[in-house]
Symmetry: C2
Subunit: 332 residues, 2 copies
Amino acid sequence: MNSSTPGQVLPGATSTAPETAGAVLAFDVGGTDMKVGIICGEPTADGAQLSDLQRHPTPLDGERSGDTVCARIVELTRDYQARHPELAISAVGVTVPGIVDEVNGVGVFSANLGWRDYPFTATLTEALGLPVAFGHDVSMAGEAEFRIGAAVGKRDVLILVIGTGIAGAVLCDGSRVAGDGYAGEIGHAMVPAPDGGLAILESIGSAGAIARRYAEAAGQPVDGARTVLARAGAGDAAARQVWDDAVNALAFSVAQCVSILGTETVVLGGGLSMAGPALFEPLAARVDALLSFHRRPQFVHAVLGENAGLIGSALKARTLIEPATDPAKASL
Amino acid sequence: MNSSTPGQVLPGATSTAPETAGAVLAFDVGGTDMKVGIICGEPTADGAQLSDLQRHPTPLDGERSGDTVCARIVELTRDYQARHPELAISAVGVTVPGIVDEVNGVGVFSANLGWRDYPFTATLTEALGLPVAFGHDVSMAGEAEFRIGAAVGKRDVLILVIGTGIAGAVLCDGSRVAGDGYAGEIGHAMVPAPDGGLAILESIGSAGAIARRYAEAAGQPVDGARTVLARAGAGDAAARQVWDDAVNALAFSVAQCVSILGTETVVLGGGLSMAGPALFEPLAARVDALLSFHRRPQFVHAVLGENAGLIGSALKARTLIEPATDPAKASL
């Protein structure tokens, strides 16, 4: 599966031209697949600089998955270098899920991938002989939305990526919050549950939860949250209840951020955000009802799509090479 | 009420000596009283640099309270200057409650004090002819705990000041979050209420709420949360329930911060924190139960006490004068 578009690779470039010295290879390692692509030049929101995008199975090996993933990243990097001799790949960006210590380049913990305290940056830097930018997948996607996407110019932002689960990234006073890798786990923050108890946000508010909860209520499987929304629109009371529960749970968590952090912009991404006004309008109304003197956040769509993590990874990787390759920025 | 301690004022200093050029006058304006005191030199956690501490009624005049408060601050500054000719007051620090735009020096809104968009820094700077540091009362108290108090060296901190109400301050990645003045309003964040609905944190978790809710449940007034705690310890079921409700509400909000921000340290101040282990131990246990893979925060006592706001205000005021008065720092 090679989606390389030759026209997106700078034509006629040589390995000594400044333009191609800015090429980075970005990896977004997920629980099932890992995506990889080349980014030539400064990324823009349309992703035009992304080329030769590929998707490969993530090689899982329990607690040794750090080693197997790194070995696969090295192998794929050699492939890309061999296939694109016209490009000088100057740095590699890698994002992974879980708890990530960006400062020390360590994958602290991933329930799905199995590693604990795996030294990604050190391992890959030594094996590749290239600078390596290592980060958390959703944090890097958030960084991309902050820098070139939906939240450009905003200082107090919550990004929610709502799909099978819910992941978040938080910008406060113009800086992304890392919390030593523990920030952004809003999908696992508690919300009041419809049964009167407490539940984690993603067990009520995610697209996956909407499908699951409706299937349980209706006694039949559905193919996704989109179908639940359609049935709610057609007058299905169980579907309406499940959808409203999701909106209430999401609104509760958004209102927490507004109260604690003064969040001014909420960026919604992931599959559920495709619901558009059916999500955005009741969510804004419910958040409004949960606030008093606080300012009201603006709700906007994520713009970078499913490659946001790759683009964010590339943005971070470019910070490792820019001073050396761009004379205009070298003095900054 | 003049608690001046001559020994705390640098003896024999003159207005041209560098030591006394570092003297600042700090005001902490509350809904009932305003506190004012001189701070000579770099503040330390024991407050030893604070002298001539006074308390005066806050002059309230509805929407014009910004003007009346500023006029009183100018009057008191002239008094202090006249009474301490040996000190050169080099800057003034002022903290107020409500929504505060620190960057532009504006009191955006205060429900208790009445102003809207009042330009404190501009008004006071012109009237006093001195640099003025303006900030939010609890944020400045938090800043003081971060810089010289209970949270020194910590990077991800929540401060809760629990008294009649609940106020908060948040440190993320080593920086205090301002959110354009809207951050820290955790006392007005929603929590699950004991009746199954939602309520704001301070309506369940504050010392004021504990006394009020117990009085309602028992049908008799109590003199404060301390008495409710004593009755809970003596087997009073209603007192026990109200206390547990408060702990649960506080734990819920703390766990939100841990999930969203990776909070590593929780500093508890205000009257309720004096309950000690009766508060800290069940609170830590309840927070632990609300978390899964997240790291667990450490709970510590605030150390700066009721003058934390004054000390924080002085710390901020000193940033306005240090470069000019300290040759060693002027080149920074």
